[in-house]
Structure formats: C-alpha cells, structure tokens
Symmetry: C2
Subunit: 555 residues, 2 copies
C-alpha cells in the first residue's frame, strides 16, 4: 500500500486556492503510484484559521469545498483530507476538526480529532468539540482489506509509556491500535520551535514501535502569521525507525510503500540552531509578506546587527530587488553606522534612501519647548527620535505599498529596550523571537554559510558594541546587563516560567534578576501592541503570550 503525503503550504481561509494545491499534489502523488493520499491537518482551510471558524458561513463553505474536491479527485486514489465539519448535535462547540475520507467522488467517512491542544499558541478548545466518547472504532478506516488508524496531530501525543505526565485522560491512538491496524496515519499542522523535529521523530518512532505498525505523519509547511510550519513529514517502520522524510520548509509530495517503508527516502536536512532559525525566518517572512498581498518590504538600517540580519532575511525571502533600506541618521549616529549600513546594502544588492532627521528633531524640540521648560532631557527625547524614524518609514510604506519590517530582537522586546510607535513600528517583526546572543550567532552563520564567498554582513556591524545611538556615546550595556547574563535570565523567566527566587538559585545575582524582571513586567504594554513575529522557541511573545497589564506581577 503506497501512501502519498501531500505536504502543502496552504493560505489560511483560501478554500479555492488550497483546493487547487491539494488537487495538484494529489495528481502528482497518483502519478508516482500512490494508492491513497493524506493531507496535513485542516489543509483545506489552512491552519490556524482562528476566529474565521466562528463564522458559520465559512464552515459551511469549507464543507462544500471538500465535497467539490472529492468530486474533482473521483478518478484518482482516495484522499484523507484535513478539514472541519459542523457539529449539529446541539451540544458542545459548533465544529469538529476532522479528516474526511474522500473516495470515488464522495466523502464516505469522517474521523474527528479527540485531543484538542489548548496551550501556548493553540486554542482548539475554543472552537472544536472533541470526538464523542464510547466508540473505540471511531478512528478506524477499513479499505480494500486493510485497516488504518486515522489520527489528527495531538491525538498521537498522549502515549502513557512515552510521557511522564500526560495532558489528557483519553488516548485515541491506543483505542485505534487495539484493532491491529496495518498503518497509523497522522494528519498534522505542527508549527516549528527549534529542535522540535527531533522530539517528533523520537516520539512518533516510539509509538510506531510500540504498536508494531508503520506510521505516516503528514505535516503542513509554510508561514502563517507568527507560526512557521516546517513540513518534514515522515514515515516510520514498524520497528520505530525513521524510514522516510520530506524536505523541511518547502512543499513536497512523498510517496511511500508502507508495506516496505525501508525503500523510502530521507531528505537531507540541517538541524543546527542557526540553520533552522535562518530557514524559518526566510520562509516566515516570505509567506507573511506575500500572503498579505505585498511583494516589497522596507527595513530601517541603524548600523546595528539587528537591522542588518533583518535586511539579510528580507533579501533572501523576497529578492534584494524587492527590499528597500532606509538610513535615518541623527546627530548621534556615528559615521561608522552610516558607512556600515551602506556597505551592507551594497553587499546584499539592496537599494537605500538616506533621510537625515536632525531638521525634524529641531522642530519637535521647538514645539515642546514650552511644556518641557525646566525639565532635563531623558528617554523622552530618545523616543522622539525613534518615532520620527517610525513616521518616515511608515510614510514610505504607505506611499509605495511596501511592508515595513521591524528589527527588534527578543531580548529588547523582553525588557522594553525599544520605542513603541518608534522602532517597533511595522507589520512584521522578523527576529522578535531571537535573543541578542542568537542574533550574533545567526549573523556569523549567515556570513559563513549562505554567501558563497560574497561579502555579507560587514564584520564591523558584528563586532561593534550594541548601541541605540539615541544620545552621545550611548551603549546598550549602559542600561542593560551584559547580554549573556540578560539572555540567561530571560530564558529562565520567559521560556521556562521561573520565578525570581528560582532564577537566583540558578546562580544569577539577585539585584540583576530583580532589575530584569521589573523591566520585563513594565514592558508588557509594549508587547501588547507589538507587530506579530516569527515563533522559534517554545515560548515566544505573540499570540501565545497572554499576560495581564494593569496588575501586580510578583512572579
């Protein structure tokens, strides 16, 4: 039995376009000998459609699109299609997340997801009713004398032998496995965090071995807002070994004979932190820009490493000809910053505008002279500069229809070392889940691995001490701890939910910890209004970060 995995890159909500993508991939799989095909989870709607699912009209049209798709593929191999179905029982949530068995032009069987992830970026309990209890055969597909266990994403992630603690009481895979299936199929829309594929392969391999059945895992690819889906669909032998894997970060059709999975092909991949980061940023940026209807992007270049890396990602994602960089020097900008920025743009083949801001700064100073009389300069004046730059960048964005990319990193966003409506302006925050330490590593990796001997990010940009250049001789470390210390504290507090005493116990100086945690707390209002950015860690700021604002936060 040859199964064709259709690893597509859907556009959320694009029922027509996604149908076409599925048809195209299914035909390709059929040509390669597939007996049946499997799409990712909710491939028809794209994942995640979020509150589009609250529109009953959208759910109804998804079902109609599924029926049309079944008809279109009537002459080909049958298809397990990820979609949604209205719950007409009058009880519970209004829809099911499901896999539709499309055979001979009809939807012949519906498999409903049981385990609904509701944590971090996932809100499935908000929308979906779980599969009803009491029918252990609910996940069993019988076809041409074969028995398949059909599961959807999280359904396969609750094995009691694999996990120390379990998230759910039910185990639909265990139920299905009791029918001794010839194959376990899993339709997924599993977004990336760095290192996640190793976890997937380890866990799915263990499950395949436990049930002595081949396991086919079909994952979505592409960027949808803050989430990047890395594809890497794979097939495991009944002994738990990885037998086949599709490429990462790209569409693919993979056909594997599950009766002899060892004949499968394992696509080469690079699981290093920097390689995964780079590919995720490039795909996430490309898809956000294009799926939003833009073709061009803008980046403000400060002369620092964050904007340099952002520009490099943009050039790779969109083509350098579709990126414009803007230099906006002030009297506090060093000559080096200007020269380094121009060199970077030249190296990458990006055009630039240079718009000095001193004359505008003067007029703001004059306008505010009366209310500010008798007050010393403080961060207010720094923020004014940053917001002048934000205004210029947005003006270029508005006039030329180019999407403005913001350049802030995760460390800055965590402690609020950034100006709301200033450098935080923009539609998409490319590196907002990369900490400063990671930005340095990525810049070096980029120069060494992607430029093929061409000049990349100038060494001067990588080597100089980080500075916002918003007042004379300013350095980040005037206001912040060393980035190695800061990033260590932030990892414990933001990503691992450690409280201050636990962080101190881990070996950090108490005063520094208190200072950093207070900065994190007071920056919450900025993050609430931040542009979406690409999730790379298990805990990014964005749709999965849901903190109260007007509160005491003694954590």
């Amino acid at each position: 039995m040859k199964i064709g995995v259709l690893q597509i890159n859907p556009v959320v909500g694009d029922l027509t376009g996604n149908s076409a993508r599925i048809v195209r991939a299914a035909r390709e799989a059929a040509s390669a000998g597939a007996d049946l095909c499997v799409t990712p989870e909710m491939a028809l709607t794209g994942y995640p459609p979020r509150d589009l699912l609250l529109y009953s009209g959208f759910v109804a049209r998804t079902w109609e699109a599924a029926q049309r798709l079944a008809e279109q593929l009537a002459d080909g191999p049958p298809l397990l299609l990820g979609a949604v179905q209205a719950n007409e029982s009058g009880q519970g949530k209004p829809i099911f997340n499901c896999a539709l068995w499309c055979e001979s032009g009809e939807i012949r069987q519906v498999f409903r997801k049981t385990l609904l992830p509701t944590y971090d970026v996932f809100d499935e309990a908000r929308y979906f009713e779980p599969a009803p209890t009491g029918d252990p055969e609910a996940n069993i597909l019988r076809w041409q004398g074969r028995t398949l266990a059909v599961t959807i994403c999280e359904d396969a992630w609750n094995d009691k032998d694999y996990w120390d603690t379990r998230s759910y009481a039910r185990d639909p895979l265990e139920d299905a496995a009791s029918f001794d299936p010839d194959c376990i199929v899993n339709l997924s829309a599993s977004p990336l965090f760095l290192g996640k594929q190793q976890i997937r392969e380890d866990m799915l391999g263990a499950v395949a071995a436990k049930y002595r059945a081949p396991l086919v895992y079909a994952n979505q690819t592409g960027g949808n807002d803050d989430l990047v889906f890395d594809g890497r669909s794979c097939v495991f032998s009944p002994d738990g070994r990885l037998a086949a894997r599709a490429p990462g970060f790209a569409e693919a059709v993979m056909v594997v004979d599950v009766d002899d999975p060892s004949a499968g092909r394992i696509a080469g991949d690079d699981f290093s932190r920097e390689a995964e980061t780079w590919r995720a940023l490039v795909l996430g940026t490309r898809d956000y820009v294009r799926k939003s209807g833009f073709t061009t992007a803008l980046v403000g270049l400060s002369g620092g490493i964050d904007s340099a890396v952002t520009a490099a990602v943009a050039a790779e994602a969109l083509g350098p000809e579709n990126v414009t960089c803007v230099l906006m020097p002030s009297p506090y900008s060093s000559r080096g910053s200007i020269d380094d920025s121009l060199e970077l743009a030249q190296n990458l083949g990006i055009k630039t505008h240079t718009l000095p801001i001193a004359p505008i700064m003067d007029r703001f100073e004059a306008a505010l002279a009366e209310p500010f009389a008798g007050r010393e300069p403080d961060t207010t004046e720094e923020n004014i500069q940053s917001r002048i730059r934000g205004n210029l960048l947005m003006a270029l964005s508005n006039k030329f229809g180019a999407l403005l990319l913001t350049t802030g990193n995760k460390s800055e966003l965590a402690v609020g070392y950034c100006t709301i409506y200033g450098d935080m302006s923009g539609g998409f925050a490319v590196i907002s889940d990369v900490d400063k330490t990671g930005v340095f590593a990525l810049a070096r990796w980029y120069n060494a691995n992607t430029r093929k001997g061409l000049p990349g990010i100038p060494e001067a940009i990588i080597d100089k001490p980080p500075s916002a250049e918003l007042k004379p001789d300013q350095k980040d470390q005037d206001s912040l701890p060393d980035y190695a210390v800061l990033d260590g504290i932030l990892e414990l507090h933001v990503e691992r939910h450690k409280s201050r005493n636990e962080i101190v116990d881990a070996g950090f100086d108490r005063e520094t910890v208190e200072r950093v945690l207070n900065l994190v707390r007071f920056a919450e209002f900025k993050r609430r209004q931040a542009a979406p950015g690409i999730k790379l860690t298990p805990r990014s700021f964005g749709t999965g970060w849901r903190m109260p604002l007007a509160c005491k936060r003694d954590i």
Copy 2:
C-alpha cells in the same frame, strides 16, 4: 443562615492586597451578622490572571496566601474563598479553579470548577483541569446541619431546561441539586456586556425556582484591562424572584438571610444602554490607569465627538485636575475645532496645551521630497500628520508620566479609519467598543444626566459632521457610508458573525456591504497592534478577537 457576599475589586496578581480586601470585607460582613461569607471567583488572584497562572511559583504562593487568609479569619465566620489549587495528579492541566472552604483557621474542603468557559475573552481550558467526574457530591458542603451546593460561575450556566443548545455535557449544578441543598452558592467573575445583568437575573432566577432553593450569586467588581466586572451580586428566593442585589460598578458587602431572602435589599440601578456604558467606561478607565500605577492621563482633542467623550470619561474617572488635553492644530484644522476643544476643556475643568504641528509637517515634507518626487499626495500625508500628533502626545506622556488615552471608536477601528502609530497611539482605548452611533448617544446622555446644569460637551461638537480634518474640507462620509448604515453592517458582521450574503439578505446594499467587509478585513493588522480597550459588547476587538492576518478572508 445569613450569607455575606464580599463584592470586592481585586487587583490581578496582588495576593497581599486582595487578601487585605477580603479580610476587610469579611469583618464588615461579620459585624452585620453574617454566618458565613462568599467571595467572587478567584478573588484572591483577581480575575483573570491569564498567563501568570503558568508560573508554578505564583500558584504556590496563592495557596500559601489562602492558608494565611484562613488563619487570619479563624475567629470570624467561615469563608468560601475563590482561588486556585495545583493539580498534582500528573494528568491534565496543572491547576484547578476552585472555592476553598476556610473554617476555624484551615482550608477544610476544596470545590473545583467543572465547566471551563473557553470562548471570546475566556481561556479557562488553557489553564484549568475540570473537576474530576464520578463524584456527584463533589459540590456539596455540609455545615451545621445545612447542605450547600457550591458552584463556580459557568457551573451554573448549562441548565438543560433553560438553554436551547448547551455548551457542555456535564451539569454540576444538577448533580449538586439532587442532594436537596438548603442554598445554592455561585462564586463568579462575570464581566459586563451591555444588558448582561438581565440575562443573569433571568437565568439564575429560573435555576433557583427549578431547584426550589435560594441562590446566592457573588460577582467581582472593577476593571481589569479590557474587562469591566459590574458586581451586582444578587440573591434569589426559592420561587425564583430577585430578593437582593448589591450595587453595580462598586465594591459592596451584602448580608442576606437565605432562610428569609425577601428581607434583602435590591440596590437601585440603571440598565439603560447609555448609563451602563458610562459607568463601565468610567470604572474601567479609572482602574486601568490606577492599577497600572498612573494617576494622570492625557487626551488629544481634535474638536470631534470621540475625543470629547474620552476627555469627559477621563475627567470623571480621575478627576479633571488629573487630566491634560492637548490640541495640535494643523493648517486643515477649522477654527471651530480649536474653539470647541478649548470650550470643552474649560467646561470640564481640564488644562490644555496647544502645539501647532505645521512647522513639523513642513520638515517631514522636505525630508520626503526626494523619495516622493513625482507622486501625488494621498493618505500618506494624512497619516504623517496623525503620527506627528502621536509623537507629541507620547512625548508628553513620557516626560510627565501621564497615561495617554486613545480616542478611537469601534466603527473606526472596524474599518481602519484611523492611523496606526498616529491617533491609535496610547495605553488604553476608552471608547473602542462603542460604535459611532453609540458615541453620539452617549454624549447627549452625558450632557443631560451627569452635568447637573453645568455645561458639558459643547453642542457644536455633537452637531458638526464628523471629520478627521487631515485635508481641506474632509468629512468622514467622503470615505465611509453613513454611520447608521455602517454601524448596522458592522453589528451583523462583527458581533453576530454574519457573512456578506446574510448581511445583504438582511436588507443592506451589496456594494456597500462588500466595501465595508473589505475595509474590516484590511484593518486587521491595525487592530492587532491596537491598545486594549473596554469591552461593552458580546464581541469586542481585543483579547477575545483572534483573527488571522496574512490570509484570504472571504467570509
């Protein structure tokens, strides 16, 4: 049996402060003869603490605070305390939402919430494990020969006789009622939408009558970020009649004898749309500003009705002496707008700054002359003006430590008739869930009902045609349908999830519907970066509005 309802206004995360509030209220109730006391849901943490709950340290300290609170109240009547408890079973979500029975200095019994709202602004399935199944007596408290049914908020909202469709299969209240309780108690944190109290009273009365038991409903009051809790705790007789009600939008202690609830007092209230709106905006603004650690606020006055109403709310919430208004006229500002704004400020007793922006506009024009060469003026130039104003307002906010209030209404935010980083700048969006039609009604109501003969919002501000004044002779209706039509379409699309065909079928012109829905769609990126605002409708933009951005949205 006299029950004291402690309708407190907690600060989210403030375990120490909330404990003190509860102790104070419990002592007051004891003095008034209460035999036992009931707090709102999660009164100790404040509701909703959101992702603070992901910090195990916070959960542990909440439990310690509950123990200390029990000890502090050892000499008084026992207390049903809304709090959280760690789930140590090794399965499911890490915590329970619970009511703790604190008696004689100890936590003696724990009642766990069964039904976990996970829709709109509610994310309870993200954090909480529901009460385990299989123990119908789990919600029964036996004390001094009495039987009480203890439920938490949503637990009482799934009666099969009351609702046509049910959200959940379980009914913990029905289970508890089978033990023939002497009283049903419900700890709630039920945020307002306009008209919600009538729904609560109708439903809770029906449940009391069905089970022939008195029902005590204890609700939180106060504003927590986007949510305003209106209090209005109440008690129902076994025949279903409303027997007592605490005041709305204020802390209160209410002691009612549930054996003779007819002796209770029903606080006067005003359920008109405008009165509820006004009280919610005032309380929500006051609490957001103060709980954020601010005492003063800034409002940019345009001469239009939105900023006038926002200034009026701020003056009422914080005292006019704590509000500063800023006029930032451009060459397109009418003389009337300036005069009307000054008159408004004078009427309300608010001080003003006037900062003309023409000189700054000139410098932006010069800075952008080269890149903009050969291009016609468009909305870009309008946005530049708006962002100059945003920069000036934020500079004043930064320099003086005053929270900037934004002034946009829901109609504008829906169709994107607002400038991101411009007039959308600010920490709190006071009227962002009031549509334009509602703003007019509120302004008239305010003048007629709150000013006690003093001048309020100048009639000229209410009567003039709405205009952004960003180019000569501009009117909102040059770009938008009449507000009556626009607001009608938006109500169907945003609040009632109707798709375009359904809206056309409801009697609106197809071309207008298409245009409005496209505007709504393209404004999604602005809403993602909008300031939090006060929820007043069942469907506000904010934490409960979760739309994808880079998508097709053919709904």
